[in-house]
Symmetry: C3
Subunit: 368 residues, 3 copies
């Protein structure tokens, strides 16, 4: 347990009131109950709960101003403080230490020290699992795979043969790492090639030949992967998630993709085969990056954007097909003014008609 | 087995023919074979199968009119009748009664009466499982979780620590309940903040600090959750699905979200962090609701809509960015008329040019 | 191991250099190391790696021209050659032959010859599993289901009761086959019906009645299904994937859907209830097909398209709402010209104003 003073010191805030109060829980202000609850206020609107008098200890941004709470910590950048607080008050997932008796570990696999491997996990031949790895339950690690130290695999995570996962990686439940790529070829040029070449469908996919995936997935240190997210293996080489990339739930990462360092890939994004996302790029929810295209370093792709050409570094793009944000706003503005444009044209037509008639009435046509 | 007369009575239909016929199966008219098959006709187009003579018993809407089937039940609102019929003829998922010998139940967990817990299920410490709960196989329930009575968890459902699921809830296979929220913060303002403030990327995500999720998921009674759908746990508090909300497959529900009563959330919808969906709202497939935004009670969000501001109650919105349906139709109309607008402008330009020339030829400019 | 000459013969290429070289691996040119590596070059840009001198053997398209590699195979249609090569060098998923001791097979199930059924698989009552079927681990096959010969089910695949899977089918990890359809009805007409009838929400979904799904899923021979993809069972009848249809990851296939032969359905596509995709149709990533609509044979639906009416055969559609590609391009062209249109209108307004003034100054109005 920490005291309020220790917490203030840890998060870098200024304390008002009694620093010796022991804190057991960090809670939303609506849920604060006892003397050992610390209510976290992220925005001014949340202060409405303070008037109820149940909040004895609060942590709040300096912008909020005076509050009636007996003890408080005043901070700047509250979202960062939230992160720090939840390091202190983290509630790690339950996995019993050691290897559960139902887990199956191939005799040729190696498992590090102080691991926690839960019920019904399976580790295949020649795979290596690092020290302090945690696997919650129903995790599978195929043959010749490697899991780095301190990595956490939640329930039902599937790691395919030969995939390599770094240190301190977190993979949420039901994620699929190392499924085969989606790659086929028609013996003769098929409908997609005909559409690209001519803009019409003049040849047909009478036969689809599978392109096997013999590559793997490489996940570097500190990457996080969301629930039910899929990372397909490379065709010949690798699909790679670079250091500290963060992927949300239900994301699709196709074969041969490379995702840069510190990327943020929000839920339901789709990254097509051999596409590339630069370092520190951000892709909003449900955005799509087609095969072979690139998103540059530090670019920001808005939610639902449909990329149709390479996105330069530091660009902000939006829409489907995606365009730079200023172009998008300009187009939206133009579209909103379409009724006015139409009205102005109509008005001008009337003016011209009237003027023409006037000129006609006063100036007989020379041919007349 | 029910007789045709009992069925007519149960669904509230009018019977023509022999009410004593025993019915074994309800089938699509194309599949009707024997004297004990009841063919369900939902629309006039399905009557084409009746002429084959294989349909002895049919249930059909009054709009269809006369059909040559010996026995029939005539109904109104056939889709409701379908629901009633399939209550009678439900084929529940197979799970053997009792606890399968391979299931692992922590000694500190409590399990109710008459449960059916299939192969390879795991129930963690201090969790409580209610009476008549069914878990098909490979289900995991973490520590200190609660599963209400009569709830059904299909294969590979993962329920995280401390999550609470109500009574009569149905969760389809591979759903992830209680994964960590997707939440990070940069020590200094990063690219997203710079984009919001200035419309350009002038600061960079050099470091991403994780915000742990210590909250949980609360699922109220009669909720249904689709296959491979993800419900992340709250950051501090809860992510809540209110009574009787229905979520389809592959839906993303981020941390701190609240989904109202009786909502219908169609497949592949994404609900961003701390967003809120009102009671009885409907969200079409692949629609997206960004962080912190709200959809009002009874609103209807069309498929693929990309919401960019709060949706009022009872509104119908469509498009990305989403706008009210009437505004969308107006814009579509304007866009379709753009070629005509262009042509009219061109025509007017020609008229003005001709008129100007005429005026010029007849009225020499004063400066000339 | 194959020699270079045997490989040239198998893929139909012309060999230059020593045909007797034994080849152990096919690699990306960047990864070529030893004398037994064969570097596969798919495009001219990949030839930059050849100058490093580490590539002793290359296979490359005729368009690339001369390269400094000692031994080479020159081919046409390199993507087809890639497929052929990876047939030769396939690295099949690891599953030990036989039935793993932890697998649970119901005594009433039947299992064919030479199967490989991995750890923690469960096969339910009366199900039939064909010869040479492979199940990696944590696979579940419910009651009365059927799995054809040579079919491969990866980790955590869930196959529901009564579903039928053909021969040589491949299902990637965490796929859900046979979940219940998403189907509800309100006792009285609800909000969706009111929106359709009137364009406004005037009635409300006070109660949602579940429509049970008693049908199944039928998957024909040579179909492939991606990771975390969901195929819901039919309401009364079947959901069917026809021969050789290929579905990528995270695809939603709702109840009663029919997907034609040789279709390519890219990641995150959503197919609504009772929709139909014709033979050889292609649907790009994240595209959506609403309930009851149809995509014709050989049609090409671009990524993120939102279909709003039936797509004719051989059509190419794009956008949300989706329109034919030529119409889309025309509209994009018009939108890009909107600023010019506005400027031209403004210019014309000025001309007309000037002309009017001139006419006014020279020709006093008759009323004046």
């Amino acid at each position: 347990m920490k005291t309020l003073g220790e917490i203030a010191s840890y998060v870098g805030g200024e304390i008002f009131g009694d620093p010796s109060v022991p804190i057991e829980r960090v809670v939303h202000p609506a849920l604060a109950q006892g003397d050992s609850d610390l209510a976290l206020i992220l925005s001014p609107s949340a202060t409405s709960f303070l008037t109820l008098g149940r909040v004895k200890n609060a942590i709040l941004p300096v912008e909020v101003g005076a509050v009636p709470t007996p003890n408080r910590i005043v901070v700047t950048r509250p979202r960062l403080v939230l992160a720090r607080l939840l390091e202190l008050f983290e509630r790690p997932v339950y996995v019993a230490p050691g290897i559960h008796p139902t887990a199956v570990i191939d005799p040729s696999a190696s498992v590090g020290k102080n691991v926690s491997i839960g019920p019904f996990c399976w580790i295949g031949p020649k795979s290596r699992v690092g020290d302090r790895v945690r696997m919650v339950c129903h995790v599978s690690v195929g043959a010749e795979a490697a899991i780095g130290e301190d990595t956490l695999l939640h329930a039902c995570v599937c790691v395919g043969d030969r995939c390599k996962i770094g240190n301190r990686v977190i993979v949420q439940s039901n994620a699929s790492i190392g499924a085969d790529g989606f790659a086929y070829v028609t013996p003769e040029p098929g409908s997609i090639e005909s559409a690209r070449a001519t803009g019409a469908i003049t040849s047909f996919n009478q036969q689809l030949i599978r392109i096997n995936s013999i590559g793997n997935v490489v996940i570097e240190d500190d990457v996080e992967i969301g629930a039910n997210t899929c990372i397909d293996r490379g065709t010949l080489g690798e699909t790679r998630l670079c250091q500290s990339a963060k992927l949300d739930n239900l994301v699709q990462v196709a074969h041969n993709v490379s995702v840069g360092k510190n990327c943020l890939i929000v839920a339901q994004v789709g990254l097509g085969g051999s596409s590339k996302v630069g370092d520190r790029a951000v892709m909003g929810g449900q955005a799509g990056l087609p095969d072979h295209l690139k998103v540059g370093d530090d670019a920001l792709v808005q939610a639902q954007a449909g990329i149709s050409k390479n996105v330069p570094e530091r660009a902000i793009v939006i829409g489907s097909p995606a365009v730079p944000n200023r172009q998008f706003l300009e187009r939206e503005f133009r579209l909103k003014r379409l009724p006015r444009l139409t009205a102005e044209l109509k008005e001008l037509q009337a003016q011209v008609a009237a003027l023409t008639e006037r000129v006609n009435s006063l100036l007989p046509r020379s041919s007349e």
